[in-house]
Amino acid sequence: MPSSDYDPASLPDLLPLYYRRLFPFSQYYRWLSYGGVQKNYFQNREFSFTLKDDIYVRYQSFSMQNELEKEMQKMNPYKIDVGAVYSHRPSQHNTVKSGTFQALEKELVFDIDMTDYDDVRSCCSAADICSKCWTLMTIAIRILDRALQDDFGFQHRLWVYSGRRGVHCWVCDEAARKLSVAARSAVTEYLSLVKGGDETIKKVVLTEPIHPFISKSLEVVKEYFSRYALHDQDLMGSKESVEKVLALVPEDARSYLQQEFEKEKKPEKRWKLIKEEALRKQSTAKKGQYFENEIMLQYCYPRLDANVSKGVNHLLKSPFSVHPKTGRISVPIDVSELDKFDPFSVPTISLICEELDRPRPGEEKEKLEDAKEKADEKDAIEKRKSRDYKRTSLAKYIKYFDQFLDGMARSWKGERLRNSDLQKEF
């Protein structure tokens, strides 16, 4: 496996190569300029870098793409975070009159971290992930992506693998970027169903009426529940696990089920018993009758880090940043191929650097073409760069990112036309 080649100690050598020849600067700049619709949008954006020896620098800002490139190639950051678009250039925030330097806009973002599910996954814990619990991320993306699109009307959503144990979502619509703190908080609450910390046993409680959002989310969970929970996580298998599940069931049903489970050992059959008991309750009881759904949601529903989403000025790890511990690149996830996404086949920085040096079939032909196009030097450098990443496993992810940007570009064009009409520019 390529990942086993990655050694964190080699980062200082790999990063310069990555930032010189592989990092997709032009796509990155294209993204954060948002079509130049708003003046100084890129210039007023805050970046933060984590350098070697954990040195952290905030309020980095750049006036153009090549300034960003030069700085990154000079500093070789271990981590890159993206923050808000401010009222002034972040790098000059100390010169601004106190109180007037303010975060104005930022993408609506979400951070799903596998450690938040430690109480409900039996295969791994803490920073570890495996293919069994990765399903939780798949479920999370399915549920949240649907809601962000259907309920909130957001069209431009970028899901990114964080590099180790989770995923991030960047909602880039103009309306999303302009959301107030109160609005972000309201959206986050709307999307939250699992509530409570270590002391809370029952983290999901459903009451009538069951909102369509919850029903639709349950539909997604049900698609995966049997394979993920009953099979992969063996929810109804071990005594310990069964006890935890039964703790979520109302007392009267619990004792009955405990008895039945003495006789019935098959996980599928046990779950069926739970479903039947829940059904029975629904026709008689006024409350506590949704426990079957509540269990499914507690074990599978996405757990958001609210603090990440609420703040306009919150800094979040950048797409295409490297994860120093795993070496994996934070790549965009193709949602149309979601079930096929495998975090363990995401390229590491060592892999793609290695791929750079490998000769590829057809390369001789490319070299000839390069000689022909000596006309524009800059163009040639760009072309070489684009051929560079195209030779690596990074290619397909950058291509997907390009498509994402194309989708947004259509709306930028309209905006630019509208603005130039308003200003009577011809």
Binding site: D150, D151, F152, G153, F154, A175, L179, S180, A182, A183, S185, A186, V187, E189, Y190, P209, I210, H211, P212, F213, I214, S215
Partner: protein, 513 residues
């Protein structure tokens, strides 16, 4: 707003259109000339109204029948608009109603000037205005509510029956208390989700493509939020143009008075001068003093000194309960001498200021004891001070300890702390009154330390004398109010003069000891 002396074209909008309904969003400021006396009167009366709203809001569950009845009677008493009986169509138009609506309009904007200055003031003002608006809006029937919204360009779009049919199940399941029948019979509004955050946050509304589908019953929440947001923005803007307003010398003292004002009895008229003897003060402080004064008295006894803020607050209070100037001089001198101050220094440095308090020096204005509002809102205490309102200014832990020392029961302390947490400082003090006097329900609404004292004395058998004296000044104020604007003007002018001068003079004159 323009004031007499400057000629400006008066708005030519016809009367009926200007105030078409009895409630409004206060989007447009008034554009007419107004006399200073009307300015003062309108403002003072609206302030009274808002204070009623505040009191009712904490002593009743909002919008219940008793709440509505009491608020409506206050609206009537102060001549503000309110919803008439359905069959009383005549009173909805015509000059009388017009006057009420005009007053409502103008008074709101005047109070904006006074209440935009600090975060605390703004919060208070917005809270009361939102509550008042909620009262008015919920008094309307749905048809009238819709008409109001449309008139104010809030074209929350309603959805068609086709759309309702298509979304019927989702709509039923999204909002509490909405049945299939209700969906078809009642209106649903389509609003961008950003305008319905409270409903979105609690997932109490159906969302589709960025729009919230709100049943009519929930539209009140939306409208109130809209009102609140607009008012908040408007106050921020108003604050920025305040320097220009303050440069008008006629307005500045009035506005200051309004934001610190206690509208009602000011305890400056002393009917029981000399009835208290100095040796009674210690026992009175435990029995009948509000916590702030008890605290000040105790500090004075312990330290033989009080700093300026404390001397003012406590000194004026003592004047209010009936201490004469001679008694006051004796009282302070006796205590200060025990400390680091000798008799000569006292006569030189402190006696003058006490005589000033009684109006015997300088401008010779007779200063009025501070109201709760003034104590709570202005001049917060710093290190070494003992003045202020303990419910507002003391750290809750210290307040708790103090109450324990004063032998308040643990459950009582908890009740008080809850009120403090909800920022209901005067109610907390009232609760303190009830607990220390062993009664269930104090029959008054506390807003002045001297009122606390009088009520306490009344309860403890102070007798009819004090009661009569308390009623008399209040009645005389009400009489002058009904007599017409001149009467109120005089009283209001006096009080405003007092307080204006008090704030202006004292600050500049006295120095910290």
């Amino acid at each position: 707003m323009q004031f007499g002396g400057r000629k400006k074209k008066i708005s030519t909008i016809p009367q009926s259109e200007l105030y078409g309904q009895h409630l409004q969003f206060y989007g447009q400021p008034p554009l007419e000339n107004i006399s200073l006396s009307e300015f003062e009167t309108f403002a003072a009366e609206r302030l009274k109204l808002l204070k009623t709203v505040e009191n009712l809001g904490v002593s009743h569950v909002k919008l219940t029948d008793p709440y509505r009845r009491k608020l409506e009677s206050q609206l009537k008493a102060l001549n503000f608009p309110y919803r008439p009986d359905a069959d009383d169509k005549k009173s909805q138009s015509g000059p009388i109603e017009y006057e009420k609506r005009r007053k409502d309009h103008i008074s709101h904007f005047i109070l904006r000037l006074a209440y935009c200055q600090t975060e605390d003031l703004r919060r208070w003002f917005i809270q009361q205005e939102v509550d008042l608006f909620r009262f008015h809006f919920t008094e309307l029937v749905p048809k009238q509510q819709l008409a109001f919204l449309h008139k104010n360009n809030l074209h929350y779009d309603t959805i068609s029956s086709e759309e309702k049919t298509a979304l019927k199940d989702q709509l039923i399941n999204s909002s509490f208390g909405v049945s299939g029948i209700k969906v078809m019979e009642h209106e649903f509004y389509k609003v961008p989700f950003q305008d319905a955050l409270d409903l979105v946050r609690l997932r109490k509304v159906y969302l589709k493509q960025g729009y919230a589908y709100i049943p009519h019953q929930d539209i009140v929440t939306i409208v109130l939020n809209d009102f609140r947001t607009r008012l908040s923005k408007a106050l921020a803007l108003t604050a920025r143009s305040l320097p220009a307003v303050h440069s008008d010398e006629r307005l500045q003292p009035l506005l200051n008075h309004l934001s610190h004002a206690y509208v009602g009895q000011d305890y400056s008229i002393q009917k029981n001068v000399g009835k208290i003897s100095l040796d009674q003060i210690d026992s009175l402080s435990g029995k009948s003093f509000p916590l702030c004064m008890r605290q000040l008295h105790q500090s004075l006894r312990e330290n033989h000194h009080l700093r300026h803020g404390g001397r003012m607050q406590y000194g004026l209070f003592l004047k209010g309960i009936g201490l004469s100037l001679e008694q006051a001089l004796q009282f302070w001198k006796m205590e200060f001498i025990r400390g680091k101050v000798d008799a000569d220094k006292f006569d030189k440095a402190y006696a003058y200021s006490i005589r000033h308090m009684f109006g015997k020096e300088g401008k010779r204005t007779d200063y009025t004891p501070y109201s709760c509002m003034k104590v709570i809102l202005s001049n917060p205490p710093s290190q070494g001070d003992h003045h202020g309102c303990p419910f507002r200014h003391s750290d809750p832990e210290l307040l708790k300890q103090k109450l324990q020392v004063y032998k308040v029961s643990p459950s009582g302390i908890n009740q008080i702390l809850e009120l403090v947490k909800g920022m209901h400082y005067q109610l907390a003090c009232q609760k303190y009154f009830e607990l220390t006097h062993n009664i269930e329900d104090s029959s008054f609404s506390l807003n002045h330390p001297n009122q606390y004292f009088l009520e306490s004395q009344k309860l403890l058998g102070g007798g009819k004398d004090i009661k009569r004296e308390m009623d008399a000044p209040q009645r005389s104020q009400e009489n002058s109010a009904s007599k017409g604007s001149t009467g109120t003007q005089e009283v209001a002018a006096n009080t405003s003069q007092h307080l204006a001068e008090m704030t202006e003079d004292l600050e500049s004159f006295f120095q910290e000891a």
